[in-house]
Symmetry: C2
Subunit: 245 residues, 2 copies
Amino acid sequence: MRPSVSFYLTFVLCLCLGLLCLLFVGCWSSHWRGGFSWDGSALQFNWHPVLMVSGLLVLYGNAAVVYRVPFTWEQRKHVWKLVHAGLMLLALLLSVLGLCAVFDFHRGLNIPHLYSLHSWVGICTVVLFTVQWVLGLAGLLLPCSPPWFRRSLKPLHVWIGKAVLILSVTSCISGINEKLLLSLNGSGNGSEPYSSLPVEAKFANFLGILIVAFGLVVFGILSKSEWQRPQTDERVHILLNENNT
Amino acid sequence: MRPSVSFYLTFVLCLCLGLLCLLFVGCWSSHWRGGFSWDGSALQFNWHPVLMVSGLLVLYGNAAVVYRVPFTWEQRKHVWKLVHAGLMLLALLLSVLGLCAVFDFHRGLNIPHLYSLHSWVGICTVVLFTVQWVLGLAGLLLPCSPPWFRRSLKPLHVWIGKAVLILSVTSCISGINEKLLLSLNGSGNGSEPYSSLPVEAKFANFLGILIVAFGLVVFGILSKSEWQRPQTDERVHILLNENNT
């Protein structure tokens, strides 16, 4: 199988898993958790999982693999750097909005901020993502950055990029688990406990499995060296070969 | 800095973080959770975090990077394959024992098995690890495996290896979070709730951060191509160069 065919099959799987994650998290929050509002109530909390899964996971994952799409290799790298940086900025803004939703909800109900391990790992993820975006802008996008800085930043940028993805999957899984434990086991809410595995619990657990699958597929795409955007010389060679066949 | 010096500095960091993880998980279970026994009680549960962090995370992580240690490059690869497979088997056995501890505890207290997202992700991790070990033995260690199988298995083995590490970190974080939510927020146990962040919660949250740091350092070592064991020709060249200087 040609590398581009196997890439596109994996990329379609990645897109489908991402869409399923969005569908499942939206459905969980609207159908079982009562929908959305922005008024400091539990309905404001519901924006938190939706915005984190959309921004920090699905958009982040797709923005990370955008250079690997063979279709983009025919165009100038700088254009796709801008697309990559723009999508990442949008992912970061959605994540920050997702944090605002949960902080506002905590304030409204006098719940302390940042006590659980989920929140510690989650906040580290968003801080690392912000550092990564600012460093990427300064070192890899702006033309005035010195070549030594660009050279030494690139492997670090690749490593931090994968680290944010790992932290993002970890935060999402621990967050869904925490929400189910707190909301299904909470006293006086009339719901069946988490341990009896009601339909909501099965549905949200399955969302967790979809998130893990999405993260691992993105990770697989990033790890395959054959799918990397070729350097300029190689790209000319590929284009010439494709024109001759 | 020579690659071997930067490797050894990172490797020492990896060993220290691994030891700290073991120390913290042991201290949490013995000091705050009441210690250990094997009688179906809550004290049997306490083996679960200790065995999973020891086997599925710390021993697994160290067994994964064993080929990268430059000291091993002077010896036959087959010997280090046996060490790698042996350490991985020990990690797998500790993980299975860790699962037995929690299943026995559930049976003793009539708690349903495998209801939480943590348990779903955790069981997937151990199943994937088992498949990986069996495939690795059949395809990469046994001399009778056909070359085409060996060639096509190797990249998959590397990818699944990293996937198990990601799943292992995710399982540990969601598990610690779940244990703190259930044990500190449980009714009538006299402890302060998780949200007031008592000393135990801070300690176990910090254990979670150590686990994430350990996972990311192992991941960093595995991702750096300069630290890979050289192919045979390169190795002879390195050894000759080192003897000449």
